[in-house]
């Protein structure tokens, strides 16, 4: 017996909501960054759930993982550089683009 798809999707939605709420409420860049990763993985979970017995969804998951890895590389590098220069990781300290 298989687990009904709705459980997967429920978990995915929960993770996604956690990620987005964390992104919105947290002020630490590193935490926000991890929340983004959480949202990506929530999406991955949904893909995997939808592609039960099929290959296309799984392929997309790999692509997302590759992109996430690259993004993690760039993003973490930016976080390191920001911390070195400004000695802070509070995203509210970086408002240079205020209109």
């Amino acid at each position: 017996m298989t687990v009904p798809i709705i459980y997967y999707l429920g978990l995915s939605a929960l993770l996604f909501a956690l990620g987005s709420v964390g992104l919105l409420l947290k002020r630490n860049l590193l935490v926000q960054f991890m929340c983004v990763e959480l949202m990506l993985n929530a999406a991955n979970l949904a893909f995997v759930a939808f592609s039960q017995g099929r290959a296309d969804g799984s392929v997309i998951v790999f692509i997302v993982m590759a992109v996430a890895a690259a993004e993690a590389g760039v993003g973490l590098a930016l976080v390191v550089v920001l911390f070195r220069n400004r000695n802070s990781l509070d995203s509210e300290d970086f408002r240079l683009m205020k209109g």
Partner: protein
């Protein structure tokens, strides 16, 4: 030669192009040579054309040359074509002849001026425009020349544009002339509406061949009368008649040769030429003719009274010009077209002479123009004095000189055509003419009363290049009368020459009155002229009468004349100030600043305001952006769920 007559206007045009383009790089002698040479070539060509014209039989005395079709639209066609008939021939000879003398004179007068090449470039351009005006074969090309001379007049009045008075005088001339030109254009529209062409000969032909369609409009204001009146308004502007004469006295701010050439001898007579050239039209509109005569005579007397008390030597002559032009209009208004043209020719000679003489005086006195600062110049400038005296005797109408014959013909035609009141006014004007010219000569050249310091001792006689043209003009002023002798003395050659061109039944020329009456009238008018001169002698030579005491007796009259009837002030109050007020209050402060600027600034302000609101979105905070992102995603999601 008759095939080549059309080249006459192009010599000055070539001169203008050379001087205008490279004049500043040429040596002074080359500039003078180009300027005078081009006019001399025109004059010689004009002389040959005249001889060729004389060889033709009377009825075939016209040359015509179509250079190219200028406008062809539907039925309408206007050619760029030049023609010569006796009337335009007379004009061409006067323009090129007097023009040549004034060019030569100017080489002396303008010597050393930094704008020397520019001056002659304008002068040559003026001659081209003026010759186009008189040689045009249709009204449209005439209008081109008409506007061209107006432009040159503007440029030359404001030649010393660094002087504010000169710049504003040029502007004034231009604006006042626009009023006349607008009416002239309306007249042209009416002509085209009625005749379907603007060709002189086409219109004359239509008028003569269809007398039923174009009747003489006696006692009614028909289209022909309206057309004639509109053309006359144009002439009033150009020829400085009431009510548009105000620009001419101010035009004296220009160099004196310009005053002589443009504002005395040639351009201002364009209005007379226009009326005479349109004689076929005007004779169908008796009411318009009466208007011409009355306006002319009013101007003649009005301007003469102002001339009596002016202090500036050139302004006396300017009002005199306005007055003499009035005589010409009075003459053509009563049908004496030949008389008007005759006075035009003689006036061109003696008024150019007087202006150039005045220029010689001003030159000798280093710019002094106030008559009351002159005096005793007779000894320092004997040649200028002699020629000025001739010009004065000519314009005053002393028997034997040209002005006598031409003015007498006008007065006689006024009398014999039954316009007794105009004749009396003309006699009064003649007396004043004699008085103010004699006053001018006596004040400038005569001795000062005891105890008054004269500036005369600093004067020097002008160089030969200025004096020789003066002498030639003086000879012409003496002799020119013989081309139009009255019937009791000989033949009127001018009338014989002109009548084929006038194509009108010139009955006005053969009015009532016998030779004996004519002689009596001539005696009367010469007596009046001598009276005027005598009065001036009593005031300013023998000093039996004191002009200041006379002015004190009639203080209001004196102030009225001194202030030129306050016409400038009147125009300023009635036309200029309201116009400025409307321009300022309505067009600038309201329409431009409120409406136009409001629209433009309002657009900016709306966009700036909108931006001010929207820029709050751009907070710079990553979390705000993320919130907007989520909100957007949720909105899309909601949309998908609901729809």
């Amino acid at each position: 030669m008759s095939d080549w007559f059309w080249i006459i206007p192009f010599f000055p045009l070539a001169g203008f192009l050379v001087l205008g383009l490279v004049g500043r790089r040429l040596p002074v002698a080359a500039v003078s040579l180009t300027a005078c040479g081009s006019v001399a070539l025109s004059f010689v060509t004009a002389l040959f054309s005249w001889q060729a014209l004389l060889r033709q039989p009377d009825e075939a005395r016209f040359f015509s040359q179509r250079l190219f079709t200028w406008i062809a639209a539907g039925n309408f066609q206007a050619d760029f074509s030049f023609g010569l008939n006796p009337l335009s021939m007379v004009m061409v000879l006067v323009i090129t002849g007097v023009g040549l003398l004034i060019h030569i004179y100017s080489t002396g007068y303008m010597h050393g001026d930094p704008g020397y090449p520019r001056f002659f470039a304008y002068l040559n351009l003026f001659l081209f425009a003026m010759l186009t005006l008189v040689m045009a074969e249709n009204y449209l090309l005439l209008f081109v020349g008409w506007e061209g001379v107006g432009l040159c007049s503007y440029l030359l009045i404001g030649f010393w544009f660094e002087k504010p008075a000169a710049a504003s005088a040029g502007k004034k001339a231009f604006l006042v002339n626009r009023i006349g030109d607008a009416a002239f254009l309306l007249g042209l529209f009416l002509l085209f509406y009625q005749f379907g062409t603007l060709d002189f000969r086409g219109i004359e032909h239509a008028l003569h061949s269809e007398p039923l369609h174009f009747p003489v409009e006696t006692g009614q204001i028909g289209t022909l009368t309206l057309t004639a009146l509109l053309l006359f308004v144009g002439a009033v502007g150009k020829s400085a008649q009431i009510p548009l004469y105000v620009w001419l006295p101010d035009a004296m701010e220009g160099p004196t040769p310009v005053s002589a050439l443009i504002h005395a001898a040639t351009m201002v007579t364009a209005g007379i030429y226009l009326v005479v050239r349109s004689s076929a039209l005007f004779t169908r509109a008796p009411l318009a003719m009466e208007t011409v005569a009355v306006v002319g005579m009013l101007t003649a007397v009005f301007a003469a009274t102002i001339g009596l008390v002016q202090r500036d030597i050139k302004r006396v002559l300017a009002y005199s010009t306005v007055s003499q032009l009035g005589y010409m209009f009075a003459a053509v208004g009563v049908g004496a077209f030949v008389g008007g043209m005759f006075h035009l020719v003689t006036h061109a000679f003696f008024k150019a002479l007087l202006f150039l003489g005045a220029g010689s005086v001003i030159h000798g006195l280093h710019g002094e123009q106030d008559l009351f600062h002159m005096g005793n110049l007779r000894k320092q400038m004997p040649r200028t004095f002699a020629v000025m005296l001739v010009g004065m005797l000519a314009i005053a109408g002393v028997p034997g000189l040209s002005g006598f014959f031409s003015k007498d013909e006008i007065l006689w035609k006024l009398f014999s055509s039954g316009h007794t009141w105009l004749w009396i006014a003309g006699l009064a004007g003649a007396a004043m003419t004699a008085f103010y010219t004699a006053r001018l000569i006596l004040l400038a050249f005569g001795s000062r009363p005891h105890g008054e310091e004269a500036h005369g001792h600093a004067a020097h006689e002008s160089p030969a290049v200025m004096v020789v043209p003066l002498v030639i003009l003086a000879l012409l002023s003496i002799a020119a009368g013989w081309i139009g002798l009255p019937a009791w003395l000989g033949t009127n050659h001018l009338e014989e020459f002109l009548s084929p061109a006038l194509a009108v039944h010139a009955e006005g020329a053969h009015g009532a009155g016998s030779h004996s009456t004519e002689i009596a009238a001539a005696a009367l008018s010469s007596g009046i002229a001598l009276l005027g001169i005598g009065a001036a002698l009593l005031f300013y030579f023998y000093r039996r009468l004191d002009p200041d005491a006379l002015a004190g007796r009639f203080p209001f009259l004196y102030r009225l004349l001194r202030n030129k009837y306050w016409v400038d002030e009147l125009y300023r109050g009635v036309f200029v100030q309201p116009c400025l007020w409307i321009s300022r209050r309505v067009f600038w402060l309201y329409w431009d600043q409120e409406v136009i600027d409001g629209l433009v600034n309002g657009t900016g302000r709306i966009l700036a305001g909108a931006g001010n609101i929207l820029r709050r979105l751009q907070s710079g905070s990553v979390r705000d952006y993320a919130a907007w992102l989520c909100a957007g995603a949720l909105t899309v999601l909601l949309y998908l769920l609901i729809v």
